[in-house]
Symmetry: C2
Subunit: 410 residues, 2 copies
């Protein structure tokens, strides 16, 4: 199972792959306090208006605006004080012509009143009477029912990732929980005769497993639930049985094998034979990450990542994160966190291939500058030393120093 | 306890407050798979070099570079094949002059060898002999020991928020866990006679508690552990006993009370009497959020947030998140996720006051445009409709349409 001769650029490869995937996300209701970062499984319709009653935005006196017309410091209006609005309740009176009532911020504007005068613009005249020192217009200092949302409004769409503001909005509408997409289970299958798990001893010639852990973190950040399947020996039967178990138990299967040709071939063959239609993309026109595999095995998406730690993370950002997002039905296209920065060095690249380069950002009065962090793609700390990644598009054969570039934070 | 007459801008108020806080973060060791987003409690020193041995970056033959000099397709060099490097082990042979050995990607370069020739540039001559079709230079296709990090290098500083790349780096160094700052416990004390928890019934004149939930989410995102203390009645004794309990049980206490003058006064008095030195800042030159309180009670920081949901979130982003970050010892100044966008409308503001305005971002070929989302600060869905917040600095009295602005994603 060799790489295809015609390599697609990442965006096209991703579309070709995702177009063949059909996901029907499961949903679950989670308490509001656990919902931040989750993605709504259905739209939220307001069952009542917000605010649900006319509320005062200040401390003062509920009035009929017409009764204050012409009022000033020198010529106050005198209104009869008929009561006080209880917080959290309904006033048991109706305001008539020439009357007013004490009201607190958030209190319900009583029947008959249509404005509130701030306490600063009033003065007690004698018991039962208030001097109004300033005219107010209709609706002044009153939040009208439905000014935030109307009953029946779609207030949060389906596929929206919940932030503190949406959590607050859900609470305002009385929801103690919210229906969100279940986090897809993502299998990580690592392999390599030379690879051992961290925490144990290391013999000469061995290396610690990096990708299982860096990918675990990335998958969790992207909204998946990572399940590690350990480190397989470079053996066809071990690959086949782990892949079959992962396919049965998880919603997405990730292979992160070694970089040797024989192991790459073993991975590709295992993936291709796992189910129908098999490998859809084998090899992508991107650096790092050319030997990426995108496949579908009887409805379960399978992604073969390159073995080098930096390549694996760069490619997982592009393909694994996007697949998880499609699985949970993420619909909105909120901006990706990115910084616009001035590139400090000339970067050359091969036209027709997309390049991703780690950069260090520095802030100054004129904005950000971006300094590439060079290093072979097997050196994980070159990526740990970067603030973000910048792309050299396939169409370009480089970017000149001084140009402004978009840096995606990692 | 009234607002101070001289109001500080947010950055100065924050510094004045944090300068008086002394935090000594507790630390705990968490497994690597739970460590993403956490903040290191101590720096990580590499106990060995990475890679720890000379590794091949390709599949091919380990050679002495000098033996390949002058080799070409037409005039190959002939080398004696003396063995194969085992993956994950040490070769049991040393390479002599005129000799070569099979090596796989990631394999240990044997003693005596100093370069690797890719298999593509070789050809089997006869059994036990390999034709080298291209000359390679010293170190070609070899990752040298320590090329990523040296033994004794500080590879991750103290106070660094861990991303997938650092998690990978820790795994590469054999760490199965990492020492991180304990997440500070943050008390949320809500109040209001008219406020009821979501999930239950709502009577006329009542509203659901928004801030406890939106702040809970924001605190968790900022790295704290939120503890809700329920909704207090507007009563001095209830405020006092909840505040004392929260001060004892938590590392940071947040008040989010109503907006009426009497409740604001009650909050300020409660906070000021909770411990020494009491209120440090009362009122900040910012909109929304002017009535913010920053205090210290016997070593426990206490923050009084404005009652309006939008104001509470905007102010919590500025003060609560920064306090949590200082508590966990976050040292690095990684760029905040922000988008540079072209403002589509003139915005005026009062000079001397910092304004924060929700904006909706739209992407086009020329980059992002920012459209302000107007709405009173009690309308939570105006914030839910925004992609981010932009600042009008205190020194400006507005920003003109067409100017480029920084939008912090929310």
């Amino acid at each position: 199972m060799s790489e295809f001769l015609e390599l697609l650029p990442p965006a096209q490869a991703l579309n070709l792959f995702l177009d063949q995937c059909e996901f029907s996300p499961q949903s679950e209701t989670v308490p509001l306090e656990d919902a931040v970062g989750r993605v709504t499984a259905e739209s939220v319709i307001s069952s009542f208006a917000l605010p649900s009653f006319a509320r005062s935005t200040v401390d003062g006196f509920a009035v009929r605006a017409v009764d204050t017309h012409g009022a000033s410091e020198t010529l106050p209006a005198y209104l009869k004080l008929i009561g006080e609005v209880p917080m959290g309740g309904t006033p048991d009176f109706e305001l008539g012509r020439g009357e007013c009532a004490i009201i607190h911020t958030g209190g319900m504007v009583p029947e008959g009143a249509d404005a509130v005068v701030m306490v600063e613009y009033t003065q007690e005249a004698r018991p039962g009477e208030v001097e109004i020192l300033r005219a107010v217009s209709l609706g002044s200092s009153v939040l009208q029912p439905g000014e935030d949302v109307q009953a029946g409004d779609e207030v949060i769409g389906r596929g929206v990732q919940l932030r503190p503001a949406e959590i607050g909005g859900l609470a305002a509408l009385g929801h103690a929980g919210v229906n969100v997409a279940v986090r897809p289970k993502v299998a990580i299958i690592s392999s390599g005769d030379e690879v051992v798990p961290p925490g144990g001893p290391l013999s000469a010639g061995q290396v610690y497993d990096v990708n299982s852990y860096s990918l675990h973190s990335l998958i969790e950040q992207a909204g998946g639930e990572a399940v590690r399947y350990g480190i397989l020996p470079d053996d066809a039967q071990a690959f086949k049985s782990a892949a079959e178990r992962a396919k049965k138990e998880c919603d997405l299967v990730i292979f992160t094998a070694g970089s040797s040709v024989s192991v790459r071939d073993l991975t590709a063959t295992t993936i291709d034979e796992l189910g129908q239609p098999g490998v859809i993309v084998h090899g992508v026109s991107v650096r790092p990450g050319k030997p990426t595999i995108l496949a579908l095995a009887d409805g379960v998406p399978v992604i073969g990542l390159p073995g080098n730690p930096v390549s694996a993370l760069v490619i997982a950002r592009i393909f694994v994160a996007a697949t998880i997002q499609k699985m949970v039905g993420l619909h909105t296209s909120r901006p990706k966190p990115a910084i616009t920065a001035k590139l400090m060095l000339n970067l050359s690249s091969q036209a027709g291939r997309e390049d991703w380069i780690g950069v260090k950002l520095t802030h100054s009065a004129e904005g950000y500058t971006a300094e590439p962090v060079f290093g072979k793609s097997n050196l994980i700390f070159t990526l740990a030393n970067a603030d973000g990644l910048m792309k050299i598009p396939a169409a370009a054969n480089g970017i000149a120093a001084g140009e402004m570039v978009e840096v995606e934070l990692i």
